[in-house]
């Protein structure tokens, strides 16, 4: 009964979303305030209905209702309750429902916090969101109904993919989707502005906090996904240039460019058409990501069973949404006035250069991601594009972006002086060059690894951003006037980026791995650490049996850590899962994965196992930098400027 209620609520939500899409937009076009006023209540009702539907599915999972096909495919009565709940988005149908739910959550938030907006504007924004929601709910109801029954009911479910049974994976998809879906708000604002023909600074100020929050979620989601891959896949990698990872990176790059371009539009009235294009692009790339993941056109580790109807539906949806918005753009953008004049050396020019470079980098990632598809479509054969391509194009494209962060922060709007910039930043530049040269030389002397040009480049960029940002803060603090939150947000995010760059550089430059077969009491050394295999035991989990190795890690004859990697055999799956054991430190991770049982020792006949050891210097800086960026984005989004703008409007 409950699944049917959920299904029914979803169908109702479709009609409400359609009303939310059509009536307010028609009202805005014909200046009928009563129709425009429909937008907010419709968004609220739609949210309530999708929430009901989501709760119904969650109840089916938690209550082990295996007469629901989707539940029987992705859950199992032995699964711990928290994973049964997370299994709601463990498959295709449920993750789409989560998508629709988050979209309605964003819509209702816009409805709640848009009191300062003119009625016509909020009606248009919510109308655009309603249309997107209509398309998505139709997709679920027509092609991917999670409430479909399985009669007679299965005795037990097939279980959630063991790879997904990890705390990181409980929150990774919702965070990522919050980011993807959040860009729909910036998109809706851009479309609303195009429709009204008023592409002004106010539009940019309204959409900026929303874009920042979406970007924060996306950053957090990507970081979490990367950490999960590192923690769970058991081979020490953290980014694989997999099509699905690329699908999340592309909107992130566009979103980053968008945040910066919105600032120029808000402060200087410049790049209006460019900013609108970025807003359309960021959400289009989110939709494209959904298409790539859900249609099965690409194979990847995340690939889902493909149903051709689904692919066709998403493609038509994508073509309609993006095609119509780009047509609107081509029609309205020529009427946009140019912003204030800007000099060749100015904050605007640096921000423009960076946003162009970020868009080009996105294009390079997009090309690498769909190149196999294009080659196949042209009947030129089958191929795949791997990490070497992405590393080759991505590093040269992102290097100038990172270099320009510092002059961008230091330049004034309108016109800046080369000489002043040089005078201010020469010591930072010199210091960065020294660090880039001396640190690798010193590490080579300590026999930590050989110098490569990439190490110096990475250190140079990291030191340059850290030095430039800190000097700017030191320079700013003694000056009079309150320091706005967005100032701190900016520096936190830039420092976070620098920390990520430093982490990647050091882990790529100095990581070490060994693959050895060991018996009990055997030891192996990595850098200054010695690992000793103490025991290997069998342990029982709730829905798996595992083999657990215990190792002591010693440094200078002192035990510094005990690691317990596991090899798990889930009852429902033929594939054994590796649970790596990681000792995390600020300057290094020690990572051990337990491999296969191998043949006993030739002479002693003692049992032996394969073990993989990794020494990962500074890898935790990757996630720490990501968290700094998240924090920076949040602080910037909470800037008083946006709230003050709201309260001023209220008092009028």
């Amino acid at each position: 009964m409950i699944p049917e209620l959920g299904h029914y609520a979803l169908i109702l939500a479709f009609w409400v979303a359609l009303a939310q899409g059509v009536i307010p937009l028609a009202g805005a076009a014909t200046a009928q305030t009563a129709w425009q006023a429909m937008a907010k209540p419709a968004a609220a009702v739609q949210f309530g209905l999708v929430l009901l539907s989501f709760i119904a599915l969650a109840l089916a999972f938690v209550g082990n209702d295996f007469s629901v096909l989707y539940v029987s495919q992705h859950s199992n009565s032995l699964l711990p309750t928290i994973y049964r709940f997370a299994a709601v988005w463990g498959g295709h149908e449920g993750s789409l429902l989560l998508w629709a739910f988050l979209l309605s959550l964003w819509s209702v938030s816009v409805a709640l916090f848009s009191r300062s907006l003119p009625l016509a504007m909020s009606a248009r924004v919510l109308g655009v969101l309603g249309l997107i929601s209509t398309g998505f709910i139709a997709f679920i109801v027509l092609t991917s109904n999670p409430f479909e029954r399985l009669l007679p009911a299965a005795a037990d479910g097939r279980d959630l993919n063991p790879l997904l049974q990890d705390p990181g994976l409980i929150i990774h998809p919702p965070m990522l989707y919050m980011g993807y879906v959040g860009f729909s708000v910036a998109f809706a604002f851009a479309i609303a502005a195009l429709l009204s023909g008023r592409l002004d600074a106010a539009w940019a100020r309204w959409s900026r906090p929303w874009t920042l929050i979406a970007w924060v979620f996306l950053t957090f989601g990507i970081g979490l996904g990367s950490w999960w891959a590192y923690d769970e896949l058991g081979w020490g990698g953290w980014w694989f240039w997999d099509p699905v990872e690329n699908a999340s990176l592309m909107p992130w790059l566009f979103g980053t460019a968008l945040i910066h371009a919105l600032m120029v539009t808000e402060k200087r009235g410049g790049f209006k058409a460019w900013t609108v294009l970025l807003a359309i692009g960021a959400f289009s790339l989110s939709l494209l990501g959904t298409f790539l993941v859900r249609s099965g056109v690409l194979t990847s580790v995340h690939a889902f069973a493909a149903d051709p109807r689904r692919g066709v539906f998403v493609l038509i949806f994508l073509a309609t949404v993006v095609g119509s918005s780009l047509t609107l753009f081509a029609w309205r953008a020529p009427q946009v006035t140019l912003g204030g004049r800007m000099g060749l050396i100015s904050r605007e020019s640096f921000l423009l250069a960076n946003s162009v470079l970020l868009v080009v980098a996105t294009g390079a990632v997009l090309l690498g991601t769909i190149y196999p598809l294009v080659i196949d479509a042209l009947n030129l054969g089958k191929l795949s594009v791997g990490a070497p391509y992405f590393n080759t194009v991505f590093v040269p494209l992102l290097t100038p972006v990172l270099l320009l962060i510092v002059p961008g922060v230091w330049s004034s709007w309108k016109e800046a002086q080369w000489r002043v910039l040089f005078h201010r930043l020469k010591w930072v530049a010199l210091g960065s060059v020294l660090i880039a040269g001396l640190v690798p030389a010193w590490l080579q002397m300590l026999a930590q690894g050989d110098w490569t040009p990439t190490i110096s480049l990475g250190l140079l960029l990291g030191a340059w951003i850290v030095g430039g940002s800190l000097l700017h803060i030191v320079d700013r603090l003694p000056k009079p006037g309150r320091v706005p939150w967005s100032y701190w947000g900016m520096h936190l995010a830039h420092l976070g980026m620098a920390v990520v760059v430093l982490g990647i550089t050091l882990v790529k430059g100095y990581e070490m791995e060994r693959d050895v077969r060991m018996g009990i009491d055997d030891t192996v050394s990595l850098r200054s650490y010695t690992f000793e295999l103490k025991t290997v035991q069998e342990v029982d989990g709730p829905n798996y049996k595992a083999l657990r190795a215990t190792l002591d890690v010693k440094q200078d004859q002192r035990v510094v850590a005990q690691l317990q990697p596991e090899k798990r055999h889930y009852f429902s799956s033929a594939m054994p899962m590796t649970e790596a054991a990681i000792d995390t430190g600020w300057s290094r991770d020690l990572y051990v994965a337990l491999g296969e049982v191998v043949e006993p020792h030739a002479q002693t006949h003692a049992a032996q196992w394969n073990l993989h050891f990794y020494y990962k210097p500074f890898i935790s800086w990757l996630w720490a930098g990501g968290l700094l960026m998240v924090l920076g984005g949040l602080v910037a989004a909470l800037d008083k400027r946006y709230r003050r703008a709201a309260s001023q409007k209220d008092s009028h």
Binding site: A273, L277, I280, G281, S284, F291, S295, G296, V297, L298, T299, P308, G311, V312, L315, L318, A319, V322, G323, L326, T327, F329, A330, A333, P334, I370, P372, L373, V374, D376, A377, G381, K382, V536, E538, L547, H569, A574, P576, E596, V597, E599, P600, A607
Partner: protein, 195 residues
């Protein structure tokens, strides 16, 4: 202003490629083995320990090699189709039981002897074929997966069509479908049988 149309034009180019891409199956991977002689092997059959079987025993016939295992969920989906196909057509299908005994089947901390592995594989495979029907003229046991490596086995199930001279003419990774059988495999087999 034409320049504002550039994003739209670019996007529709992309949509065309995506639409064409949808018609293709990314799992259909051309194998370097197609049009090459099928790698030789000699393996024990499912029936008993005395008999060994290899591709050379099928010389002069067009035949199909199907890679399967009882732990393979997709094989369960494919199996009824193969059973039906084997009844309706005169095309011998050889089963290659691939890594039937998985590492987790072995008691922790020790290795099973090859004979114990064979016994376990026989027990499970025979039970499976008894309950679901046996489409194979013969099934061979590739317990350590070495033959699978020679054939470049990518995922189970996989299916190969091999001609009278022992040359691989077609390879499918993944589940067989009635459409593939009717549109690709049967015409190919008819043509190969005539030559």
């Amino acid at each position: 202003m034409k320049k504002f149309l550039i994003p739209l034009v670019f996007f529709f180019g992309l949509v065309i490629f995506l639409a064409v891409g949808l018609q293709r199956d990314p799992r259909e991977i051309p194998s370097p083995l197609v049009d090459k002689p099928a790698p030789e092997f000699k393996l024990f059959t499912l029936a008993n320990n005395e008999q060994q079987f290899g591709p050379q025993d099928m010389r002069g016939q067009v035949w199909m090699l199907n890679v399967w295992a009882t732990w393979c969920v997709a094989c369960r989906e494919e199996h009824p189709l193969l059973v039906q196909f084997s009844k309706e057509n005169n095309l011998p299908i050889v089963g290659l039981s691939y890594k039937e005994v998985q590492p987790q089947d072995e008691p922790p901390g020790s290795k099973m002897t090859p004979q114990a592995k064979r016994d376990l594989a026989r027990l499970r495979s025979e039970k499976w074929l008894r309950s679901r029907g046996n489409p194979y003229v013969v099934t061979v046991l590739d317990l350590d997966g070495r033959v699978g490596i020679d054939y470049g086995v990518y995922g189970v199930p996989e299916t190969y069509v091999i001609d009278k001279q022992g040359v691989i003419r077609y390879k499918l990774i993944g589940v067989m479908t009635p459409e593939l059988l009717a549109q690709k495999i049967l015409p190919l087999v008819n043509q190969l049988q005539k030559t």
